[in-house]
């Protein structure tokens, strides 16, 4: 370590923005989304649940930039408060699958053998179901709602992370440092978690970003179908479903929450692509 020289190659934010506009745009969108999710009250102009029967289904105006809904609630405030729920999906809908998948994938990739054979068949079986079909079938059994949705997604989704992690660990085992660990007599646990895992995690992290976008799409789809978040909770899919029947007269009700989904999804995929670009420079 001592003979390594550190050059000051840290680019300024401005220079990075010029070179990687996608990554920076993604960072800005997601950063702002997190702010909205953590402090919705600071940004929303009104209380999202205040009913005003004198202002039902008003089109967008200066007082209500996104209009008002069927109960006269301010649509902008409801879209902003929904950030709390939808950004929470991106975390809780992925993190359990991520952790379980990474651990199982690393173990299976390291030990191979019978566990790997069984794992292969589980992967085959799970990818044989259309993802949404399996998730809504499980939600049907557990009952609609956010928590059950997280359970269903995690039970299915760890497989995808594990598959990715397994492949990456196997690829890493071909490197000298892994063999060196074995020769040095390190314990399996040390080799797997201190050496292989940090080296193999990059593609999983990149995939995680894309996955967060997918889970927001999935969660809002379930909300729209009536199987995810339940009204009167403000969630983008639920908001779109609420406006569905008035779409030709009060288009803003469904259109605006949809734009929030698109923007957030775009943010995560830009972030994922940008990270992939940054972490795996290819010729």
């Amino acid at each position: 370590m001592s003979d390594m020289t550190f050059t000051n190659s840290q680019p300024s934010f401005f220079r990075m923005a010029l070179r990687k506009p996608g990554l920076v745009a993604g960072l800005l969108i997601i950063g702002f989304s997190i702010l909205l999710a953590v402090f919705p009250g600071a940004f929303a102009p009104y209380d999202p649940n205040t009913i005003d029967y004198n202002a039902i289904r008003q089109p967008p105006s200066w007082a209500h930039p996104f209009g008002t809904d069927l109960l006269g609630r301010d649509s902008l405030s409801r879209v902003i408060w929904a950030y709390q729920v939808n950004m929470q999906m991106a975390v809780f809908g992925t993190v359990f699958a991520l952790v379980t998948g990474v651990i199982i994938g690393a173990l299976v990739g390291y030990y191979r053998g019978i566990a790997d054979l069984i794992f292969g068949r589980i992967v085959d079986a799970v990818i044989t179901f259309p993802f949404l079909v399996l998730v809504i079938a499980m939600v049907a059994v557990l009952g609609p709602g956010l928590v059950n949705m997280y359970i269903a997604i995690s039970v299915v989704y760890w497989v995808y992370y594990a598959r990715l992690m397994r492949a990456e660990v196997i690829a890493q085992m071909g490197n000298d440092y892994a063999a060196a660990g074995v020769v040095m007599g390190y314990s399996d646990r040390r080799i797997i978690f201190r050496h292989l895992l940090p080296n193999a995690i990059t593609p999983v992290i990149v995939y995680w970003m894309t996955d967060m976008a997918l889970v927001i799409l999935l969660g809002s789809s379930l909300g729209y179908l009536g199987l995810g978040a339940q009204p009167p909770q403000a969630e983008w899919g639920v908001l779109i479903a609420e406006g569905r029947n008035f779409i030709s007269t009060a288009w803003w009700l469904s259109l605006m929450p949809g734009l929030a989904i698109v923007l957030t999804g775009l943010g995560f995929s830009l972030l994922g692509d940008g990270l992939a670009d940054l972490l795996r420079p290819r010729g």
Binding site: D124, I127, L217, Y224, I247
Partner: protein, 313 residues
């Protein structure tokens, strides 16, 4: 290896997979709290009905026997009775299956028509503005939930401009093409975004390959190079990707069928869920799995025919 031999081996590999698929579907309903027979019979069932289901499923027997009964019933085509439709689950599925298959095939064709030409334009203009515009539009397309695309199309093209029907499923073939156009476009817009991305990089990869540069150096006209080398290789990777994305595509059709009120398996699945019709949920889940694995099989066979390298593995 001959094709038949390959297909046979591939079918054999599906046996353990399907065994696990059955385990998952079996456990799904067993996760229900309480007596599955009561859940499966529905709220308005008589004691005799519940007793009949209990016997059919062998609920008093140990789990392994129950699983065996489930397996042998299913293999014999007995998926139980639907509470919602009041007929055999098998009959309901046979009735709805063609609609979903039609919609899926239609979407695949449309997404190829959308993604194919645009991927070529993007790849041939790599790094210039047409590439940037096409990629940005598809990036946004990927971030749109299917139900939202459907809702927007439904509102503007069907409800406002009255160019298309707002729902339903025609009788004749041309009526079906007309009725299912918007639903198929909805799924295709999402799918084509996935295909475009992959196809663009596949084309670029082939364009940069040495054999294409060699063909160019030989002075072959670019039309011939594109047709013979680029198109063929791009096709292989697209078919593979389409095959692997079939689950996504089916998820998309499920949502789209709900938005456009298309009487297919996806909409039925949701109706079954809200009616707590567990035999129907089980049957539909299994049918979706069978469809997907059939497509996986076809993809592998197609790939092995088109790409000789695959047959060696």
């Amino acid at each position: 290896m001959s094709s038949l031999n390959y297909i046979f081996k591939r079918l054999l590999m599906m046996v353990p997979t399907f065994f696990l698929v059955m385990v998952i579907i079996f456990l799904l309903v067993r996760m229900l709290p309480g007596d599955p027979a009561i859940a499966m019979a529905g709220d308005r069932a008589s004691d005799a009905d519940i007793q009949a289901i209990r016997e059919r499923l062998g609920l008093t027997e140990p789990m392994l026997v129950q699983f065996w009964l489930f397996l042998s019933n299913t293999v014999q085509g007995d998926l139980g009775r639907s509470i919602l439709m009041r007929t055999d689950v098998m009959d309901v599925i046979v009735d709805r299956l063609p609609v979903t298959v039609f919609l899926t095939v239609y979407s695949v064709i449309l997404s190829l028509l959308i993604a194919g030409p645009l991927a070529f334009v993007a790849a041939l203009n790599r790094g210039r503005w047409p590439d940037a515009v096409i990629r940005t539009i598809f990036q946004i397309g990927l971030s749109m939930p299917v139900f939202y695309i459907g809702l927007v199309l439904l509102t503007f093209l069907a409800a406002q401009l009255r160019l298309f029907p707002v729902g339903g499923y025609g009788d004749t073939f041309s009526e079906k093409l007309y009725h299912l156009f918007l639903p198929s476009v909805t799924v295709a817009l999402y799918t084509s975004a996935i295909i475009m991305r992959n196809l663009r990089s596949a084309i670029i990869e082939v364009l940069d390959a040495e054999y294409v540069q060699f063909a160019r150096a030989k002075g072959l006209p670019s039309r011939l190079i594109l047709g013979r080398h680029v198109l063929r290789n791009a096709l292989i990777s697209t078919v593979t990707l389409l095959g692997l994305s079939i689950g996504n595509l089916m998820s998309g059709t499920l949502v789209t069928e709900t938005v456009f009120a298309v009487p297919g398996m996806g909409r039925l699945m949701l109706e079954a869920i809200f009616a707590r019709d567990y035999p129907l949920i089980q049957g539909l889940t299994l049918t979706f799995a069978v469809l997907v694995s059939f497509v996986f099989l076809m993809t592998d066979v197609f790939q092995s025919r088109l790409d000789p390298r695959m047959r060696l593995q």
